[in-house]
Subunit: 337 residues, 4 copies
């Protein structure tokens, strides 16, 4: 940690800061420059987490040198995390495709979709039983009945299930049914929910919030990892920007950045990141080419009749085309689909 001092800081102020740091068991080094003076702090920065150095008189700025996350970092684990779910391996050479409707609507449609996706090569089935809706007047999901329908779709097709949990009180229930527990973008920093899924025995697909920085996403992953669950998949799903032509902006840069910083698998969600069906294919291809380990897509045999998010849901025909093109791109970047 580097502490930049204000130009007119007095010797008393400097001494005061130095002592404060020493009292925490860290070593401060003072360096007086012609134009600016700094104090370098050596040792475990995290001791300063609950001691706001920036609040002390004479301090202009504090610049952290170390990364605030540990278990999520490449320094903690050099290789790649590969997560086994049934017969599938996430984060390995095979590019994972999770697909399904936004919402579980009823058993018949769910099974029809699941079969259609299985035939076309999907790796996992998605579907929401608990739905975070902006409006209190909108459909909020089938709840437990939705989970049962998903289980039935798994029984019929063999596809593992990825479904969202929104409430700490539902973690146990969702854990019973899901193969992958999803944390949605509005809960990326719902720290108590992260702790609960950190104690669960199923892998977690953690979506990035639409205004969460990459570092904060890794800190949220750290909540899960440090509570005991090592199977975390990070999912970039679009961030909020000034651009209104799309629902969100897919931060494609986040893929190589995360690959550099962490050992965890990285997915994208082209459906939410664009908000429009006709942009899903292009951004799925981009995700694979940029190094992502998988995508999560909204697909339905009849997007027009989907209860929610139809506008960004691809048809089974489009899904077939997407799978075919992903299959052609994959070997160019050392992957299979």
């Amino acid at each position: 940690m580097i502490i930049v001092l204000k130009p007119q800081t007095s010797q008393e102020e400097v001494d005061h800061i130095m002592k404060k740091i020493e009292r925490l068991g860290l070593k401060p080094y003072y360096s007086k420059g012609e134009q600016a003076s700094i104090i370098g702090v050596i040792g475990d920065d995290s001791k300063l987490l609950d001691h706001p150095i920036e609040a002390i008189a004479g301090v202009e700025r504090v610049m952290p040198v170390l990364k605030p996350y540990k278990m999520a970092s490449r320094e903690f684990k050099a290789g790649r995390t590969i997560i086994s779910v049934g017969t599938e391996s996430i984060g390995d050479t095979k590019f994972t495709v999770i697909a399904g409707p936004c919402t579980v609507e009823n058993e018949e449609s769910m099974i029809r979709i699941a079969k259609g996706l299985k035939e076309r090569g999907a790796t996992f089935l998605r579907g929401g039983a608990f739905k975070p809706r902006t409006s209190p007047y909108a459909f909020q999901g089938l709840g437990k009945r939705g989970l049962e329908i998903l289980a039935e779709a798994r029984r019929v097709t063999g596809l593992g299930i990825c479904t969202e949990v929104m409430d700490v009180r539902d973690v146990e229930l969702v854990e019973q049914y899901a193969d992958i527990i999803q944390i949605g973008a509005r809960n990326t920093q719902n720290f108590n929910l992260l702790k609960e899924v950190g104690a669960a025995k199923k892998p977690v697909l953690l979506k990035r919030g639409f205004a969460t920085t990459i570092e904060e996403l890794l800190m949220s992953a750290e909540y899960i990892l440090s509570n005991g669950n090592q199977d975390v998949i990070l999912c970039e799903r679009g961030i909020r920007t000034f651009e209104t032509a799309t629902r969100n902006t897919l931060d494609i840069n986040a893929i190589p950045v995360l690959k550099e910083l962490t050992h965890l698998p990285v997915f994208t969600d082209p459906s939410h990141a664009t908000g429009k069906r006709s942009y899903v294919a292009a951004t799925s291809y981009a995700s694979l080419a940029a190094g992502a380990d998988g995508v999560i897509l909204e697909a339905h045999y009849d997007p027009e009749s989907a209860v929610t998010d139809g506008v960004q849901t691809v048809s089974l025909e489009t899904f077939s085309e997407i799978m075919a093109t992903l299959g052609r791109i994959a070997p160019a970047v050392g992957r299979t689909v």
Copy 2:
């Protein structure tokens, strides 16, 4: 609702859309233009909430005409909502000042701060017992003990208490102690938590998330209102932008916008919106001048020793100055402090 059709939409597609809308009990009007054709829909748009018209072939864009919130709107309630808390009235001519440390640290410091603020004219006392922290390794708050300390500070000073709840399981507990229940910026769209505080008997201070639009903030208020709690205070606390000179950007525009759209009281949080102590006074004055009904500030007798957020916490001396200047500005805009 206006449905803009794609240029080459066929008559069959138009008929299909028209029928779909009629089946929902709404009246569609088709208007064929030289360069673009539209379908206007008259009636209660909310019937379309779970039917994604945009997903239908031939539809280019759907433009809602009506506002999606009802109980939060000026159309629902023409006057201003005034919330009585003990002897105080929020949303009336008096400008409300909620102040206190970021975190409840211990009884002694809390009571010292509370007394200092009471003497200097604060209206309510704030302090966090449950703290949402980016890092799992940082101090997470005193929990129930923190609430007890706040209650003791209230007993000693008479100041009402504003404190945050983060977890649906803690709503009942927090409700027992708090005079105003705070929903933090990371929970603005934690819809289950909103439903729970919607059922509580205490006013709710609802912070805007750092990437929540004004319309979404009003939809989140709608969750609370529609669950039975009419006492909602909206709080702008800074949004995320590209600017890095400050922690967030205080959206001062949001004050007149919200005053135009809703009857609910509007506060700001200059401490979090700037992230730096020396900018808190200026933005507090701006908030009052722009029409806000109150501010929530972080204050401590010794910001340097504050466990969290010291860098944006003002001292009691600065708090005195802020109160004095607010007192001088208030009459210019028809207020008292």
Copy 3:
């Protein structure tokens, strides 16, 4: 254009708006709804460009239905614009790779870079003679001498030249030397400069500003097209967002969006969009996979010694790898490199 009226608009106000629109030769249709009333306007919206309907009493909102650009739109030209430069065709099946140093430094290094890139398969050579620098104290480019060096590099290698013009007074000069004239991100809305290059006889690579919307980018292209120059290449180069892990955020969504809206070729600039060398390869692959027609990259035989932007400049070795991988991805999306 749809004009949404305020709830309490009087009949006089409605009549006033109707007359105003009729006087401009347009046909207004009034539609009184239960909850909201609207006026639809049929005819050429652009007549309203200089008549702010939104400013009239009773008007709540104006929602344009037609796109504001014409010559840049797919409606104006159904096919794709293919631009011939020497023996190369931009916007056709071959993926174009423009590469070179940020700045022209001296003849020796320029020719060494140009030869290295030519050997490795670059399509065009880039290099700045006029440099927009944030600091007035930083190197501002070699000016005319830089252009002469670029011409010499072209003579030696046969590579066409892409170079930036910043000043209306330099357009004639740059036009003499460049094969492609570049408009930088800070000049996307320098309308007088756009008019000047609109009168030039060379193709223009128009970069998107870092806070320019996709629609505004197309309007800027419209300035060039409507001044007579039909050879415009659009270039997404990263937008400003809250994320600080990268210099900018590459808006990968912009590729399919632009492909849907316009016939013009679409490039990306992975160097500026990421700001870091190690992210350039991944985002170049993503651009090709998402449907871009080309990329513009910063490359140097010794990035460390580059005068400007070394941190985002790839070495010739990395450039070779990028070309090889692009070559493998291309056929998967119907391209060659």
Copy 4:
């Protein structure tokens, strides 16, 4: 400047970096930590402007300690810059109000507006003769004739003139007519234009671009200052964010930030920052309360008939109210209006 090294940097790499820095006449200090090593650089950082240290192998990150601007900084000039224009002083205790139509329309309307504003207490008259328009098909301003009309309005009312220059070729012309030369938001980083107005003999009102950081705004001011013109007024006019309820987001934080960093006067532009007439008053009051030295407002006797920007233009009646309220707030913050 602090150079943070990558974890596995070799001694050769460290030596290489050290030598590189020494060759530039700067003193590097190497500090090996347990978890991270750094090199501190003492001396004039600006020597490194054209030498990208971040591009060298082994360097993870470069953190500047010194501010990149000099003449704009408080360190360069401790007091406040007060700019005399005729009998008016900008940046002193009097709060400056520049007002007028977006565009100069014709002599009659201009003089009518000027008289109305003069009577109501405006300090300067604004009006555009050269207009930056997003669409090439929109009215582009009256040019020289517009300047003549402004001069006539000044002759009649005595109000000084503030008008925009967009093109380096027009600086001499605009300088002849204007009392304050305005640089618009799209030209904040048009460096050649900044150099030209830096050589002019009239004060410059420099608007912040809608995605320009505060530091970049100060660097743009530095271009003007370092070219000889010391009379620069900075103007915050709204930045681009995800919020769509307003045209832009007024960055009210920028006022105290700029007041801390620079001696130059700071204005805001509530009309462009909100884009809606009914929000102009509230944000003007906020600007004064937050410490701004003035505002620039769009005002017209008949906003509905204004050629451009009518929706954000206030009427003369509203202007009167704004002036009255500003007059009441001013003494509370040590100002007059």
